[in-house]
């Protein structure tokens, strides 16, 4: 008769993120000609300047239309829905970036 040593039962200390239903991507425009560009900067130094530089290239090289800027209150907190709604309502395409 073999004596089975009792195994130690343990608990998993981890938790996984709550699954979310992914949103649908907005349809990609065929051309940028005349479209309104929205810039959303993250409040880090030179974030506005970098986005503005890219937007100017889009206007010069792809005929994009007007450019409007917004800046988050802080880089480390998600932009509030009200800000995102405002940016989306006034833009045809939006340019944002993550960085330090």
């Amino acid at each position: 008769m073999t004596i089975q040593a009792e195994r130690l039962v343990l608990l998993d200390p981890t938790a996984s993120p709550i699954p979310v239903t992914p949103g649908r991507l907005a349809p990609r425009p065929r051309s940028l000609a005349g479209l309104r560009i929205g810039l959303l900067a993250n409040s880090k130094p030179f974030s506005r300047e970098l986005l503005t530089l890219v937007a100017e290239r889009l206007r010069r090289d792809y005929g994009a239309g007007s450019v409007r800027e917004w800046t988050k209150r802080t880089f480390s907190v998600v932009a509030p829905s009200s800000l995102l709604d405002e940016v989306a309502a006034q833009s045809d395409v939006v340019l944002t970036a993550i960085g330090d």
Partner: protein, 345 residues
Amino acid sequence: MRDRPVTSARLEAADALEAIELYFEKGWTDGLPVVPPTPQRVQEFLDRAGLAPQEVIGAVSTRGRVITAEKVAINAVMAGCLPEYLPVVVSALKAMTTEDYNLHGTTASTMGAAPLLVVNGPIRERIGLNWRNNLFGPGVRANATIGRAVRLVLLNVCGATPGVLDMAVLGQPAKYTYCIAEDEHPGTSWQPLHAERGYEPEQSTVTVFPTLPALLTSAQGASPQVVLQALAGSLCAVGPSAGEIIIVLPPDVVRVLTDAGWTKRQAGEFLFQVARRTEAEWARARLAPPDPATADRVRPVVEDPDRLVLLGGGGRGGPYVAIVPTWGRYGIESRSVTVAIEGGG
């Protein structure tokens, strides 16, 4: 509480040594061995604190993470806590999951903030927290394991894995564990932190600060003015970008203040008045961007005297003071949060 069993996934090991290695392999530790969390031990922690396993302690909405009492208890066992420490860990996590504290930003930052827990009230003595010699460690189980339990929850439940979401360039040893009790009676007329923030002295509380590495300085002097002028110089070395600055004063320094009849508030107000420089001086020290238009304007090291947080703590034997700046603009990126400790007295 035993009719609501723990529901976390289970795994097995041959014995405790194998369990310790298993948890290393799974990436569930802070780099140090953990105490294997058995269902019985975890249940004991929850029962002692009067917590149901699925009770929600807090959430990190940016990351889609929910912190349950069960997961806190598991990580507290792993940290080496005793059951009576759990209410402090739970309360600290409640503070950290408030919008004001900003758990997501403080634990992701490239600067690398470490949450400092400061405990006030009767629970300090009841569970054996240290506020004297070697205040910041090492040596005392309650301080070491409560701080560690918070770190393990951040790692295992909140996704603050180094190099994945925790992007600190240098990190700091305080990220292993960082929990102190305040010395509430280092001299006469000394008001402890929680009383300053409106709590009754008999109410136990924990305050969490998102901190950057501390600076050790010396504040020798026979009068409050001399001592505080010395501290003002060290505060200015930190620069004007900290949200709050904690100043931990040992008994040998507090006595110089209180023997002269000064209160904590008076000391803080005096420091606020003297710890200031012109914008040109801040810029010359590379602590603020240069701006010729405002060069002569005087700016204090913090925006408000309440942002200088004086605490009693440390042993006898020298006038050594710790200056601990916090991460982020006050009230914008983060700020300290104080909560009452429930369930522990």
